[in-house]
């Protein structure tokens, strides 16, 4: 089995993995970082989005070995010193989550969205969230959360 090494939430990690291990499986099962979720098997739902070298990425679409040497941030790595990331805070302030299952991926995508489209209007925000499915909120409050984070990030 190959060995894979990467940085996850600021910490260097290295493990032997089966070649077919997906990044999301490595995060959830080997590192037990279960905040990253699996909601589908066709890379549609976005529950597994993490940041790979700063870009949002569906961690079910890449193998763990493809992340060799990468800098990974998961939902567990966002809050610093007990302080929520402005996007996490915005989701809480705006009731942008209900069951919480899509939330980690939604938050990770939303951060990347705001970074890359700082002045996005509502239509642009909605379009950019196309890769993340939420079944609970009807997206109304998620969009409001992103709009708040545009000002606070």
């Amino acid at each position: 089995m190959p060995t894979v090494s990467m940085t996850v939430n600021g910490k260097a990690v290295s493990h032997e993995v089966e070649e077919r291990t997906l990044l999301v499986q490595y995060l959830r099962e080997t590192l037990r970082l279960t905040g990253t979720h699996v909601g589908c098997d066709t890379s549609q739902c976005g529950a597994c989005v993490v940041h790979v070298d700063g870009d949002s990425m569906k961690s079910c679409t890449m193998l763990a070995v493809q992340a060799e040497g990468c800098d990974i941030t998961t939902i567990e790595g966002l809050a610093k010193d007990g302080q929520l990331h402005p996007m996490q805070q915005a989701f809480m302030d705006n009731h942008g989550l209900q069951c919480g299952f899509c939330t980690p991926g939604m938050v990770m995508s939303a951060i990347d969205l705001v970074k890359k489209n700082p002045g996005a209007d509502e239509a642009k925000i909605r379009a950019e969230l196309e890769g993340n499915i939420c079944r609970c909120t009807g997206y109304h409050n998620i969009v409001k959360a992103v709009q708040q984070a545009q000002k606070t990030m």
Binding site: I75, Q88, C99, G100, R135
Partner: protein, 785 residues
Amino acid sequence: MASETGLGARVPRREDLRFLTGKGNYVDDLNRPGQAHAYILRSPHAHATINAINTDAAAGKPGVVAIFTSADLEGLGGIPCGFGIKIEEHIKRPQITPPHPILAAGKVRHVGDPVAMVVAETLAQAKDAAEAIDVDYGELPAVASTAKAASASSAVHDEAPDNVCFHWQIGDEAATNDAFSKAAHVTTLEFVNNRLVPNAMEPRAACAEYEPATDQYTLYTTSQNPHVIRLLMGAFVLALPEHKIRVVAPDVGGGFGSKIFHYAEEALLTWACKQVGRPIRWAAERSESFITDAHGRDHVVKAELALDAEGNFLGLRANTVANLGAYLSTFGPMVPTYLYALLFAGQYKTPAIYGDVLAVFTNTVPVDAYRGAGRPEACYLVERLVEVAAREMKIDPVELRRKNYIQPDEFPYQTPVIVNYDSGNYQASTDRALEMIDYAGFAARRSASEAKGKKRGIGFCSYIEACGVAPSAVAGAIGAGAGLFEAGTIRFNPTGSITVLTGTHSHGQGHETTFAQLVSDKLGVPYDQIDIVHGDTARIPFGMGTYGSRSAAVGGVAIDKAMDKIIAKGRRIAAHLMEASADDVEFKQGVFNVAGTDKQVTIGEVAFAAYVPHNYPHEELEPGLEETAYYDPANFTFPAGMHIAEVEVDPDTGMVKIVDWVAVDDFGNVINPMIVEGQVHGGIAQGVGQAMLEGAVYDENSGQLVTGSYMDYCMPRADDLPNYRVDATTTACAHNSLGIKGCGEAGAIAAPGALMNAITDAIGVNDLEMPATPERVWRAMNRAA
């Protein structure tokens, strides 16, 4: 006046911190020492005999711990159906309840029917081994069409040769026919209520373990109602007594009905973990969810509304063919009957109503409750009829509704179809909704859209639902196998904090926040001193769980009654401490005081005295301050309101854009408006999904689910949906102590009717099926032209 955390306050959710930081505790996040992994081999065929299963090669694969097929399950029961229609006058043909084996025995009846379970050291090894299982299938013709099931040449079950599960009726057929014979106008609609896949974002999962020293089983499962699972699995499937089974439903990632039911995997894992002597875990992949989670809706309907020349409703009748799938799921037969046709009166004084439902088996996934469960189907039927009748009679659709509404002074109102509405004010919600949408300005908005080359439409939906399920006596009378009360416990801890145990279950609804608000408000204990516990049969006295918008209206009332008992006992303790008569002691905002004096003790001091009872009325009271109440409601609750959708249709492409949405709901009293609005938003999104995007499609010949993944089944995305403008009018529920009606399903009930009325208004065509895809809209427009 509400405090910052009291009733009516928009308290941010305490659940959010763990969900936002990746610390949620979902079933698939669990890891148990020594665990093995299960993979379930499922039928690729809709209908086939199983001639032989050879597991020899698979058993020799690396990592395999055990392989189980139906032959290994001798002596176990099948998956039970918890509902059997039984009221004689409603039965045209009695219900047939065929066996539902845990693993398919001799025959598979839908794509996804479980055939074998492989347990292995890793999931990958279990999957690899499953590929080596050789199943010899003999394919049979599939029955996959709802409309044609009863005339199909093939039978899903030998017990039901014409695929009819039951034939059911409600209402006065003769009186209804008489009303139609006197009608000045009859509006007729034939339509399909499209089949939906619930698609909670968390796929179902389970993990089971057995402790030989105590003979205890623990099942962690993605359930909306752990006690119900314990009851069904213990009593009907595994023949295990309930005290030997603990069922835990930790954080659950959405349910929408699909996680009410007892599924085969729960029983299979619980049984097998003892056989292999190790914990076993399983999680569905999404494509597996599509072919195993109970689906929703799936009706073929002919509905008629009779009106006099002035537009007064005289009668309503409907014939429905309802698809129940290959097996009867837990509440399957209840949904297209008592949860459906009992709402045919809608908000109206229709004097004569008759409903006829033919329920059929098909080689498809079982159909059961999905958000709204029967009531969206009823609302769609009524509100499409009313809207089309208004168009045909050239009466304003709002005026036609107003003319026929049950008036505010007519409650309680007995409908012709059993249910008795306790309270409501339909004129008020209509007034508010029209004001918000600016109905008077619609003509100008339509002209403006036309100037841009777009067709604009407005659609109304005056919905009602029966929820807060349910009076147990009613549930039992109509055929439910269980009661539908709820339990709540208030446990004061010695130093004054409170642990609340509720039999309801939160899978997104925010009970940890709202129930703490409820308790803080009444007992005067700070919100942050109150914790809510749910989802564990070992910790909760009992509970029927969360569905049917019942958590606050039934579970909340149970908690309220437990608080009454706490106050009653606390008053006597306080009287003792203050050397006063209990009759003279008043309780307000956390303080007991002797009326007319300045003598007082706080409820925290009373709790301490109850647990450190040095100075205590031992001769009349037991120590401790913990009370449990069970609450069985006297009636359903009847939330109602009006939703209005405005759309623009692009005539070149058939694309529909929702440009405005107004929802005015009467949920009775509200604990946390922020959470209630969130429930409305999500419900609307699911209703919009049904109306415009979603549809489970089976190939009629092969019985294959052709919309079996997110590649093919269109889930609503952020850019499909508008912002919603939500407001409320309030008439309190007349028969529970909180005046709460429930809010969980309203959006999903109201939205399809509002949206389809809007789209058909825009394009000037009444005949349009859901989901109204651009292709369907474009074809309908061009058919009309």
